[in-house]
Symmetry: C2
Subunit: 355 residues, 2 copies
């Protein structure tokens, strides 16, 4: 499955590059920072795996569109521009300096501010990052109105995209709140965030866009939305796992950054539930500390192993995986069998990926 | 003219309120911060004069649509949601705590963070403000896809809105840079910013949307774009004047905030051009200082009077006004005479307004 997804990247990268450096060139050239931000957006987008863009192709292929037309590619670019916008803004909120194996966009501008000896380079970087994210959004919505997107589909797609990304923004507010909220976040609230932020956004939205382009019936499109939620819960739990147990090089962000930002993962909730009072006292000093060292991180991971946190999280993961598999097999009457097989392979990929 | 514009506000406010609290209620209710942000967006939008929304009605009326249909109202709401998004993000960049006579949105969330004793309430406020602005964007784009917007117009409108707001984002990057750049910004760069940021956004975009809804010929729609640039230069210079010489209560933001944020206005450029070395030394300590006091501000204004800065800026203003008047009179062959009169009245309003 990952091969299928990664294979789409060249096509999406190419289309994004000609959109920003070709079709939109004139727009950018009229502004002092225009060419600069176009370059950064192409570079930043190109560093990602472009899974969301690729899932638009998959969504179309589920309903037999194995030779995707230009509208599918346009929509894949929309997904990747929106993903860049979200990451650019998220990194400002989380203070993450590293993303996709390179400085995050606001960190790049912070660096520019420092080089040019501007006052408060951090705030300069954040402000430029906010703008760069905003620009990416409207480059994306302009693409939905592109001539290559058939006029009857455009309204459905715009409505779908707008609703789902508004939802991501609302979920992100909870995420920001959880990030600084010193207490425990209950399991269900975390799962809801995974369903709405990761699930509906990373999986439901691109699959629904692809299926819409392939003229799938509306009932199937909404079932795909639910399946996306399940795929998202599985993906996000796995992501949290990799964030804790992966390698910095492989994951493209700093190991321990979820601990430093006190991200309210299931691992954290289950860990604090199970920890002794003495452990909790030390854990409290580590989660949310600006720069936890290797010993701190080892301590956290050791406690998790001791209290069976990892296997408890895994059983949640497997329950969602089973439910989702069930929905794929039994609730998509209009999807060809090959489509259902592809979706199952995607689920298995989410379950077994290691980076 | 201002009466005409202000009269539209009740209708836009009402439509925005039923959109956010009615049609979109379910979306908001599924998220812990949803109802909160819906309330804040309705309240924040409602505190503005809603000039941009009203200009959509005017744009339609220019071409004889004096009884606006539901699409016009939807587009007016789009303009106001986009205006709220831009102000919310701008206030974060400028650190403006006061807007529209009340705390800015990020300042409201900063206050929430302080009340709930969260770590770093300022950063919490900024993060929540970024999200609130992002949510406002997608509430706006969802409206462009509303059933009440005729399908043939939707694509044109989405393309227009996306391009113009991408432009605003690019111009905003220059604005951010100018804000911390310690040197002089040349007159032409400032004027370009006024054309692209204020002009095309505040005037061109809503007028072009309204004219598009009224099926104006495309050549007229692009001329309206140019007229909007001129209207914007006039409006913005006047805005800078009011920011320097107005009263805090009347303008809804702190007098001196443009000086504190070292905003690169024409007044500032002309002042530094004309000032003696001794004056410049003191001015350097005032522009960009976090909290200039009344004496500092009086000193700045006194220097401007001494060097004839105010009348020099005024002559720039009048030159743009003359050009714009000329274009209105001679370059809109398809617009009824009543339309041209309305546009001239708008220009006169921009020239003479005092708050």
């Amino acid at each position: 499955m990952i091969d299928y997804l990664v294979q789409q990247k060249a096509r999406i990268s190419h289309a994004l590059d000609s959109y920003l450096h070709g079709e939109m060139k004139q727009l950018f050239e009229r502004h002092p920072f225009g060419p600069d931000v176009a370059d950064r957006l192409v570079d930043f987008s190109g560093r990602g795996k472009m899974i969301r863009g690729a899932l638009v192709y998959l969504g179309a292929e589920l309903y037999g569109h194995s030779e995707p037309g230009p509208a599918t590619t346009r929509l894949a670019c929309v997904m990747e521009l929106l993903q860049s916008f979200l990451l650019i803004h998220d990194d400002i909120m989380d203070g993450d300096l590293l993303r996709r194996g390179a400085p995050s966009v606001f960190a790049q501008y912070e660096h520019m501010g420092r080089e040019r000896q501007l006052a408060d380079p951090r705030h300069f970087g954040e402000s430029m990052g906010i703008c760069a994210g905003d620009v990416a959004i409207f480059l994306a919505t302009a693409l939905v109105a592109h001539d290559e997107v058939p006029e009857g589909l455009e309204r459905k797609l715009l409505r779908l995209i707008s609703t789902e990304i508004a939802r991501v923004g609302l979920a992100q507010m909870s995420d920001v709140y959880h990030g600084v909220y010193p207490g425990q976040v209950p399991e269900q609230e975390i799962i809801d965030l995974y369903r709405f932020k990761t699930g509906r956004y990373t999986f439901s939205l691109p699959l629904m866009c692809g299926a819409t382009i392939a003229h799938a019936p509306e009932s199937d499109v909404s079932t795909l939305g639910l399946i996306g939620e399940g795929l998202g819960v599985v993906f996000q739990i796995k992501d949290d796992y990799i964030g804790l147990f992966g390698e910095t090089d492989a994951i493209g962000k700093t190991v321990g950054s979820d601990i430093a930002s006190d991200k309210k993962t299931l691992y954290r909730t289950f860990l604090f539930d199970a920890a002794t009072e003495a452990e909790r006292a030390r854990l409290d000093t580590i989660f949310g500390s600006p720069d936890p060292d290797a010993d701190d991180i080892d301590y956290v991971l050791g406690c998790m192993q001791d209290h069976g946190v990892v296997s408890r999280v895994e059983s949640v993961l497997l329950a969602y995986a089973d439910d989702t598999r069930d929905t794929i097999r039994n609730s998509l009457p209009n999807m060809p069998a090959e489509g259902r097989e592809l979706l199952e392979r995607l689920l298995e990929y989410n379950l077994t990926r290691e980076a």
